[in-house]
């Protein structure tokens, strides 16, 4: 059977979107569960609870908890909405820090499961790019996922962005022990990685433990 790069790329992209959505739904379910239990607790206090002097304060604390969860839910929906619309057009002008923020928001739970913290080190005045933001997120996601899987507990993963010499540079910097350190490959097959980076017009390199993605900033 002939190796069909295009088909494999599409399958990988669908899997990427599926992963993002699964992480999102799990996170949202937890927020909704907290809201439901908090509302239920208020109901219990009215129906079952004994009267106490602190009651108004207790109600306020529960209301505050509900508001907090709603805010977290809204934030996550906002990131998912932005992420979804990245796929509207193949080429667009975008801020790479925002695209990385969306990935971080949608990957944080997976990282927390492994007790790994993801940190941002973004250049504040980074130049906008004109490229395929969805494809860039797809590429970076796989490197992040690989590092999250291979890093030991209580490690850190830093995502650094900067504009340098006409390119946007994204560095993925693991801080901690890498398990299976001799198998330093992304979960994305090399052929697909290579195809995606060529489509973005950039290149990937390894500088010790750091994965460095360089994408040229096209004149807008």
């Amino acid at each position: 059977m002939e190796y069909d790069e295009e088909r494999d790329l599409r399958v990988s992209q669908l899997s990427f979107i599926g992963n993002i959505l699964a992480g999102f739904t799990h996170e949202i379910k937890n927020y909704i569960a907290i809201i439901k239990e908090s509302a239920g607790l208020m109901g219990d206090m009215i129906k079952l609870g004994k009267k106490s002097k602190n009651e108004p304060q207790e109600y306020l604390e529960i209301i505050h908890s509900i508001e907090e969860q709603i805010e977290k839910t809204n934030d996550l929906f906002r990131y998912l909405n932005r992420f979804s619309h990245r796929m509207d057009n193949e080429l667009s002008t975008f801020n790479v820090n925002e695209t990385m923020e969306e990935l971080i928001a949608l990957l944080t739970r997976a990282a927390n499961q492994r007790k790994i913290s993801i940190e941002k080190d973004f250049q504040k005045d980074i130049l906008p790019m004109n490229n395929n933001p969805s494809m860039l997120q797809f590429l970076v996601f796989h490197f992040l996922e690989e590092k999250i899987t291979k890093l030991d507990k209580n490690s850190r993963l830093i995502i650094k962005t900067e504009s340098a010499n006409g390119s946007t540079v994204i560095r993925i910097i693991p801080k901690g022990n890498l398990l299976d350190a001799d198998k330093e490959k992304g979960y994305l097959p090399y052929e697909i990685q290579d195809k995606v980076v060529r489509q973005l017009g950039g290149n990937i390199s390894q500088e010790k433990e750091e994965t460095v993605i360089k994408i040229p900033i096209t004149d807008i």
């Binding site: 439901k36 079952l48 609870g49 507990k153």
Partner: protein, 150 residues
């Protein structure tokens, strides 16, 4: 046995959820403790054994299935109810194979959870009584055998 005699341990990394659920169960007269990850839960079990555990699956560090396995190894009498936002049919199968009593998806209805906890406790008591009866019967048979030989 009254509801207030039933000891429940809630294990969930979502602190707000675990604490709120604990409060609701306490208002229904259960004795409730909380743990926010697997290691903490197993450590608590060494100090005091609950009757029923309500266990989340996706937690940082030890996965819920691993925690379930450890619980059943060291404390086979404790009944474990899985309460997860993530569960698939396979998770449910695996949990039951590992000795899980029941499998609920978040957000669970409090009345349903209350009912499941009481059912799990009843199962625990029936197994305990059955073990005692078996042990007593076995002891009686050994004495009879000895008497017959004499």
């Amino acid at each position: 046995m009254k509801q207030k005699d039933i000891k429940v341990l809630l294990i969930d990394d979502e602190v707000a959820l675990a604490n709120t659920l604990a409060q609701r169960l306490k208002m229904r007269d259960f004795k409730v403790g909380t743990a926010y990850d697997g290691e903490q839960a197993l450590s608590k079990l060494k100090e005091e054994e609950p009757d029923v555990i309500v266990l989340d699956l996706k937690m940082p560090g030890m996965h819920g299935m691993e925690v379930l396995q450890e619980i059943k190894k060291a404390h086979p009498d404790i009944q474990v109810i899985i309460l997860t936002g993530h569960g698939t049919d396979k998770d449910e199968e695996d949990a039951k194979r590992l000795g899980g009593f029941d499998f609920l998806k978040k957000p669970a209805d409090i009345e349903t959870l209350e009912h499941k906890i009481k059912a799990a406790f009843k199962e625990k008591m029936e197994r305990t009584l059955s073990t005692i009866a078996f042990a007593e019967k076995g002891e009686f048979n050994t004495i009879q055998q000895k008497n017959n030989e004499e």
